[in-house]
């Protein structure tokens, strides 16, 4: 039975379907003993398990060196991670053997309140390795395939589309970029790989959970999206249910290429458990008249450091980042954005909204850079923070580097507290104080929420309501 988890089979959809039939609770041993800690041996082991080509092994080993040589970032939040105390690949104790009874009561309750379907709950709580989406996804997959779209997990892509893969992989975010991109490059596993051929416009949001499995949602997932000329895609990852995991570190890398006249929107809504460090590197390059939009919602976690970036490489490129952060008790959201204007007539916009409550801390950290020669670049940054109580905190770190004269740059920042007058107005019309604060908070993020697919918007609003309960009075 245990052999079913060997990587070679794992890489194929059919065998994943098979794994699904097993009752993981009775399964006691995975095929190889995973080991805690990080060293050359483990990296070699990961690559061997996956039967990767030589170049990928070298890529990983080089990244490991870089990871070891780089110091921890000195900005952002306090990171206290023992890298030797983490499993970097398939762990026998991870999820698969857990039973529903082991899932903490408050997580179950949250699922209830959010109205998460039964099938998804088990998956989200890590009880099940795979979300049964094949039925939903089947017809979609066929349709996409006909149009030449590749949508698969990243491990499979390396095997099935080696040339395309190698051409782009690691080109947008090199391992040297930062300590955590190096870590991800050394031990990555899972994630999504998408290629949209020229002129193909995918009309509906493509959701990560169509193809989700334990690996895809792993700690070190690696996503690569290539949107060819004139093509369009909206990709959605994550969900608003709390992601329950015994791992304390999540460090993903997401690379996106949007070619001439292409459009990509990448939406993330994540709600991590309170013990998680969520340190993610996301970057897109955008060519002539192409548009890249990041819509990024961050809830939960102990510390999130995430600054989606768009590099505008050719005239007419447009980059946009919408970010929402909600920091509750014991949480630090260090979120922001980065826009680089590397060509004339490029336009960019950052809208950031953060909410801090119950001693939570949220920071906006943003960089806008206009390179020499990027004349007529236009950029606008709006960041609004809402602080719900005196114990909570919000900071703004806007960095602006401009190497060109003829540009237009705007920056507005505001910090507000929930107004006594607003609360009184709403409560005097019969809303309880909790309902009223939740309504004000939902109103505060409404400009971003309305950009989300409907079901995410509804879930997010409900989640805010939940987060608000017990926070006042």
């Amino acid at each position: 039975m245990a052999t079913e988890i060997t990587p070679d089979k794992n890489d194929e959809a059919e065998s994943i379907g098979e794994i699904n039939k097993y009752d993981f609770r009775t399964e006691t041993e995975a095929v190889f003993k995973a080991q805690k800690g990080l060293n050359e041996e483990i990296v070699r082991q990961i690559s061997a398990m996956k039967e990767e080509p030589e170049w990928m092994l070298e890529f990983r080993l080089k990244a490991l060196e870089i990871f070891e040589s780089k110091p921890m970032p000195e900005w952002g939040g306090d990171i206290d991670i023992n890298f030797q105390d983490i499993y970097y690949y398939l762990k026998p104790t991870d999820g698969q053997e857990k039973s529903w009874d082991d899932v903490p009561e408050e997580i179950k309750e949250t699922f209830d309140r959010l109205g998460i379907p039964e099938a998804e709950r088990k998956f989200l709580a890590g009880v099940k390795a795979q979300f049964e989406s094949e039925v939903v996804y089947g017809s979609v997959a066929e349709d996409l395939e006909k149009q030449g779209v590749i949508f698969t997990d990243t491990d499979s892509a390396l095997k099935e589309h080696p040339e395309l893969f190698r051409e782009y992989f690691g080109t947008i975010i090199p391992s040297e970029d930062n300590k955590f991109s190096a870590l991800n490059s050394a031990v990555w596993s899972g994630g999504s790989f998408i290629y949209v051929p020229p002129g193909v416009k995918i009309e509906f949001p493509l959701q990560a959970y169509f193809r989700i499995n334990a690996q895809n949602m792993g700690q070190f997932e690696r996503t690569l999206i290539i949107v060819d000329e004139g093509a369009e895609i909206h990709y959605v990852e994550g969900c608003t249910a709390p992601m329950y995991s015994s791992d304390s570190l999540h460090s993903a890398v997401v690379e996106v290429i949007v070619k001439k006249n292409g459009r990509c929107r990448y939406t993330t809504i994540q709600n991590w458990a309170n013990n998680i460090y969520n340190l993610v590197t996301k970057r897109a390059v955008c060519y002539a008249d192409a548009t890249m939009e990041w819509v990024d919602g961050n809830l939960g976690s102990q510390l999130t450091m995430k600054y989606p970036a768009v590099y505008m490489m050719e005239p007419g490129a447009h980059g946009e980042i919408l970010s929402i952060a909600f920091a509750g008790n014991g949480q630090h959201q260090d979120a922001g954005a980065k826009l680089v204007h590397a060509a004339p007539h490029t336009t960019g916009q950052i809208i950031s909204k953060s909410i801090s409550k119950n001693g939570g801390r949220s920071s906006y950290r943003g960089l806008v850079r206009v390179e020499e020669g990027a004349t007529h670049a236009k950029n606008n940054v709006v960041c609004d923070a809402l602080i719900l109580d005196p114990e909570s905190r919000s900071d703004t770190y806007p960095y602006i580097e401009i190497m060109e004269q003829d540009v237009s740059i705007g920056h507005e920042a505001s910090v507000s507290r929930i107004g006594e007058e607003q609360l009184f107005y709403l409560t005097s019309r019969g809303l309880s104080e909790t309902e009223a604060s939740a309504m004000i908070v939902n109103g505060f993020i409404e400009p971003l929420v309305k950009e989300l697919p409907m079901e995410y918007a509804v879930e997010l609003n409900r989640l805010i309501q939940l987060q608000m309960e017990g926070s006042v009075g």
Partner: protein, 267 residues
């Protein structure tokens, strides 16, 4: 049973500064009272205190609704008990749609025992009712999708307050200068809306500097506030007199209250 709102010897301070210095007022269901008085005399303060604004500290006296102590209740409990105030300056809540807000508040006021998270009144019923009320006030349905008081014109804000009054159908309503900002047509529509709820089904306290609302809703009682006290009470003829002649006679007749009024304004 005839509902009664009873205010006795009410004293209210803002940031330690006394504003109301002993107000007595009794409003029965079906009665319309006008509350007049110069700027800064304490009219809005009375409204805020009745609804329970946390900034307005009651330092003495009592407010009861059918014998129940309103002062013990949170603002939302007062609303659920049947109290309503149309704000002199309604507050903008960006991002919150009128319809969403109103559906919540209508649900809570109609089911005072409702707990957070319990069902709202059905969307279909609510929408039909809202549409009726909006048509009556000649408001475009589009209005329901706008954010609460956000970027509303002065008149739109006041219409929206009347719309809420019409939806919530309280036992007692305080209209704080609801007529200022409304054009003549809107005043007529607002009055029709009030007539539609039925004046006999509400106790009304109309705070005003104009006679617009009062012409359509002639008050049985007119009270004049000066320096945080009700210095005179009369019938609708008193309102007419004040509209015609202003407050000179009142100021002269109550020099002590006048001095307090000036002192409040001076600070």
């Amino acid at each position: 049973m005839t509902h009664v709102l009873k205010i006795e010897n009410l004293q209210v301070a803002v940031e330690g500064k006394p504003i109301l210095r002993g107000v007595d007022l009794e409003i029965k269901h079906g009665e319309t009272h006008a509350l007049m008085g110069p700027n800064g005399s304490g009219k809005s303060t009375l409204g805020q205190a009745i609804m329970g604004h946390p900034k307005y500290e009651v330092t003495g006296g009592s407010i009861t609704l059918d014998g129940e102590d309103l002062l013990e209740m949170e603002p939302d409990e007062r609303a659920r008990a049947g109290m309503f105030m149309a704000f002199q300056r309604p507050v903008a809540i960006p991002g919150v749609k009128m319809a969403d807000f109103l559906r919540h508040s209508t649900t809570n006021v109609r089911n005072p025992e409702r707990k957070e998270g319990e069902d709202l009144i059905p969307m279909k019923d609510f929408r039909r009712e809202l549409k009726d009320k909006m048509q009556q006030l000649q408001m475009d349905m589009e209005f329901a999708r706008r954010y609460v008081n956000d970027g509303f014109s002065g008149g739109e804000m006041k219409r929206a307050e009347i719309l809420q009054l019409a939806m919530l159908q309280p036992k007692f309503a305080i209209l704080d200068e609801t007529d200022s900002g409304l054009d003549a047509d809107a005043v007529r529509l607002a009055s029709e809306s009030i007539a539609d709820i039925g004046r006999e089904k509400m106790g009304l306290l109309i705070i005003t500097h104009h006679d617009k609302l009062l012409v359509h809703n002639p008050p049985e009682f007119t009270h004049v506030m000066l320096g945080g006290r009700l210095v005179e009470t009369g019938g609708s003829e008193l309102a007419e007199e004040l509209h015609a002649n202003g407050y000179e006679r009142i100021r002269a007749a109550y020099p002590e209250a006048e001095a307090e009024n000036l002192a409040m304004a001076g600070e």
